[in-house]
């Protein structure tokens, strides 16, 4: 093990490495050079003077935010001699499971390709390019025949894989406690119990004001809310990522959320971001991909049918089609247990074969994928802005919801966390549901995979995502899933089949997220 200071210096080196050569770097240099012409700069105190000026002009804050962002996606420090795959996923059996899962997905994609006789990618003829350019803003009006396409996989298929996970080092016949046999997840990972959670989420405690609770009480009239909004405006004007993140733990006011989130995620929407988006758009217009059909199909199946999100259909295409072409997304595979899928292309001579990542961003969309974008349409109008916020959300959080890994915020841990909370909190309920063949995870899994998008009403969903950003963790999603079961426990105790249990939990649109979380974590005896 490395000691702390060595760890720190490794991280610093890594971050410096990553920021070198970025646009920010060149801008900082330019600013520094420009301020040399200013009269207040003295040669004797050159370094300090330049620093002071950069601070005063807000560039220091920009650098801070950029460093803060890098810290979020920095892989956990490992031993310097450990191979890079180990930082992706330290457990061999998890790696293997992920590899097998990827093989299955790719096979399914390839067979669809052959079955339908549609190439993975093709250049669009010029008239088609023109047509697409013209209706870029209304792609939803197109009604292509998608009956032959089916989603590559649905959350249900993925759950089966997770249920099948086994640690080969455990002799399964003995050794495991009774409790671990209860649930569907059969691997042992370290997950928090309620007292640990209380330490982890102090700001959700009963003594703290919460948006989503304290803005709805009428006595005293919205005292907390107006104070909280006041602070929120200050945070926005300071342009400080770290402060915004801390602030978000108590919820973002509706009117400030868009600004606060892009501050937390450090998506600045610079001219470079806009150009980047335009480049991606051009790639969509030039080439058609097989995955486009999957995206179309998914949007039509999910968001277009949603009571809230149907309006945003066009935005979803504008974001998701560009996302599939974005090779900068590949970077997140440095810390994602998954590996981007590869496909062979024949070179023109036909003699050589070379492997390319397919789709270019390395992410094969599954059924419900577009629901990661849909709630963000509520906050951002401009496609380029919407795009960069979504991409950052994906490479920080959402990828974890469909990659097999042992990381604390990974889907396996979340599932186990959910089961453990329910088992220790409401053992009778868990037992009852298990006995009637309605394993709680079978019902909750779809919520967790989508981080509840499409299940809660929009305002409540955004309040939940505030906390994901605020605590930089998806763990809260598992807590909410357990809290929902606790809330409807009485009704669930009366059901006698999986179908009726599902009926009890079919509509979550009337739930109020924050009271549920707060009660579950802080007002229940453990």
């Amino acid at each position: 093990m490395l000691d702390e200071s060595a760890e720190l210096s490794v991280s610093i080196t890594q971050i410096v490495q990553r920021l070198k050569g970025t646009h920010l770097h060149s801008q900082l240099e330019k600013q520094a050079k420009e301020c040399l012409h200013k009269p207040e700069i003295k040669l004797e105190t050159l370094k300090d003077d330049v620093r002071r000026l950069l601070k005063a002009s807000g560039w220091e804050r920009k650098l801070q935010n950029a460093v803060y962002r890098e810290l979020h996606i920095l892989p956990p420090p490992g031993h310097p001699r450990a191979p890079p795959e180990h930082t992706k996923e330290p457990l061999a059996y998890m790696c293997k499971a992920q590899v097998n899962w990827e093989k299955r997905i790719l096979k399914s994609l390839n067979s669809m390709c052959t079955e339908l006789g549609i190439p993975l990618a093709r250049k669009r003829p010029v008239p088609e390019q023109k047509e697409l350019t013209n209706k870029w803003n209304e792609m939803g009006t197109d009604e292509p025949d998608l009956s032959k396409f089916r989603p590559v996989y649905a959350p249900k298929d993925f759950l089966e894989v997770l249920v099948g996970l086994r640690n080969p080092n455990n002799e399964r016949s003995e050794d495991l406690t009774v409790r671990s046999h209860w649930g569907l997840i059969q691997v042992s990972l370290n997950v928090r119990n309620i007292p640990q959670m209380r330490e982890m989420y102090p700001e959700l405690g009963l003594t703290f004001g919460q948006l989503g609770i304290d803005d709805h009480t009428h006595v005293p009239p919205d005292l907390f809310e107006s104070e909280h909004i006041h602070i929120g405006k200050k945070v926005v004007s300071e342009q400080d990522s770290a402060a915004a993140q801390q602030y978000s733990r108590q919820g973002c006011p509706t009117g400030l959320r868009a600004q606060l989130w892009s501050l937390i995620l450090n998506t600045t929407n610079d001219p470079e971001d806009i150009t980047h988006y335009e480049q991606l758009k051009a790639r969509v217009i030039h080439h058609a991909l097989l995955v486009d059909n999957l995206i179309y199909k998914d949007v039509k199946l999910t968001a277009s049918n949603d009571d809230y999100y149907f309006v945003f259909e066009d935005y979803l295409y504008q974001v998701l089609l560009c996302f599939s072409r974005d090779t900068s997304v590949l970077e997140h595979f440095n810390y994602n247990s998954a590996t981007p899928p590869k496909s062979c292309i024949q070179s023109k001579s036909g003699s050589e074969q070379s492997a390319v990542v397919y789709p270019p961003n390395g992410v094969i969309p599954f059924h419900g994928f577009s629901m990661y974008v849909a709630p963000l349409c509520f906050l951002y109008n401009e496609p380029s802005k919407l795009y960069s916020v979504f991409r950052e959300m994906y490479i920080r959080y959402f990828f974890r919801l469909h990659s097999i890994s042992s990381l604390p915020s990974g889907i396996v841990s979340l599932c186990l966390q959910f089961e453990r909370l329910l088992q220790s909190h409401l053992p009778q309920l868990f037992y009852h549901l298990r006995e009637i063949g309605a394993q709680p995870l079978r019902i909750a899994f779809k919520w967790i995979v989508r981080a509840f998008s499409g299940y809660l009403s929009t305002d409540q969903l955004l309040l939940l995502w505030d906390r994901i950003l605020g605590y930089d963790s998806l763990e809260i999603v598992a807590v909410l899933a357990a809290a929902v079961f606790a809330f409807r426990a009485e009704n669930l105790m009366e059901v006698t089949s999986l179908a009726s249990a599902e009926a009890v939990l079919a509509d979550l649109s009337t739930l109020k997220v924050m009271p549920l979380l707060q009660i579950f974590l802080f007002a229940t005896s453990v």
Partner: protein, 501 residues
Amino acid sequence: MQVVFLTFSLTRAPKPQPQTWTGQHEKFIPAGILPCLGLSCQDKDCTPYPRYNTTVPLRDNYPPRQHSSLNPTSSVLRTLDRRHRTRREGRNCIRYRCGLTNTIQDVLNQRPGWVEVKEDGDWDFNWCDVGWLRENFDHSYMEEHVRICHFRNHYELTRKNLMVKNLKRYRKTLEREAGRMEAAKCDFFPCTFVLPSEYHIFVEEFKRSPGSTWIMKPVARSQGKGIFLFRKLKDIIDWKKDGSRSEEQKDEAQVESYVAQRYIENPYLIAGRKFDLRVYVLVTSYIPLKAWLYRDGFARFSNTRFSLSSIDDQYVHLTNVAVQKTAPDYDPEKGCKWQMQQLRCYLTAKHGFETVQTLSKEIDNIFIRSLLSVQKTIINDKHCFELYGYDILLDQDLKPWLIEVNASPSLTASSQEDYDLKYRLLEDTLHIVDMEGRLTGKEKRVGGFDLMWNDGPVYTDVGLEALGSSCLVANTHLGCVNDRQKQLQQLLKPFPGQKKT
């Protein structure tokens, strides 16, 4: 009968509640504070999950009146408020007549102590359509306590030409009496002319603004029928003598008046789509004016993407369907709706609280001014009340425009959510009309309705703690949380004959 009695008392007995939540209010409310009666409670928010309610529907355990003498529950009914008994001459129920077969019928049917009367029986309460009103109102004698859901000449507000006429007159009066500034507050309806009577001033105005788009609407038709857009005067001249129209349409055109209205060319779009707002306003009296605003409502989205190029010359003689697609009040795909709360949340997210606050103030102004414009014209009658459906359009600068007012807003539901909204709306309307005498008359809020105007603006009661609240805050909450169930339970006396739990 014994069994009936048992279920009756059982549903009223307070259920033993767990110490966590009631499971019926999805907010943190300690058990026992707000027991849900399961009576008038059709509120979605009030049931743990939709259509999984185990409480027996009200009809089944509230015996119809004709059996009351035989039924054990008549003892309960006998405890009716004395005042009401004498007023209704010993009757212990409210007799209603309902001319519509939709949500309103369900609401009336399920209201405790209300009984439907046959075709020509006497009634205490009448939810009629405007046709019935036209034929019967003048011939009927109404007792003091009787209520009916329209004012005699409601069309002064709800016919497009008369509304504009009244608004223009009101604006003139304001300008004369209070000056230009005050009159400018009436500039919330697009420039409109009645054809054929105002044809000449219309042509003058039309020539002053070349290139603008106009919309032509028949005054008495609704749901976008007969609407078309035009940009050239030639188009309406052609239209007037268009041989391609059917004989029937020609005949109609001869008797029918039209309004020509400046088309709002820069509507506010959400994801490229145009929408309008449907907001509900209840008027219980014109002199003095007393008006209530409902918190819920919805935005109706058009299914097509908005673009002015679709009104190009080649499309001027649009077919009906095409016309309706660009018509503001056409609902091409039922269910293309957002609840008002959703819209308010969206606009707040995009533009901030202050902007939305200003917007709702301006929308309030539309309701008040339009009602004041007909205050002296409408025949005030204490038997009458009216629920108006306002159609409002927002433009890019978030300025609200009044499109039209409907006296019989559609009460037919397009979805479960829509049904729930309309059910709540009508229930609260009946609470305010208050046939049961459960209110004091001083309420500022009843369920989802907030009192907006009571012979003058109404302000919220602001607590002393509120910071810097020297200014008055309007008592309206369009698109805000509608926690009506809770409010109603604190407010209302129980239905006659029903014990308070």
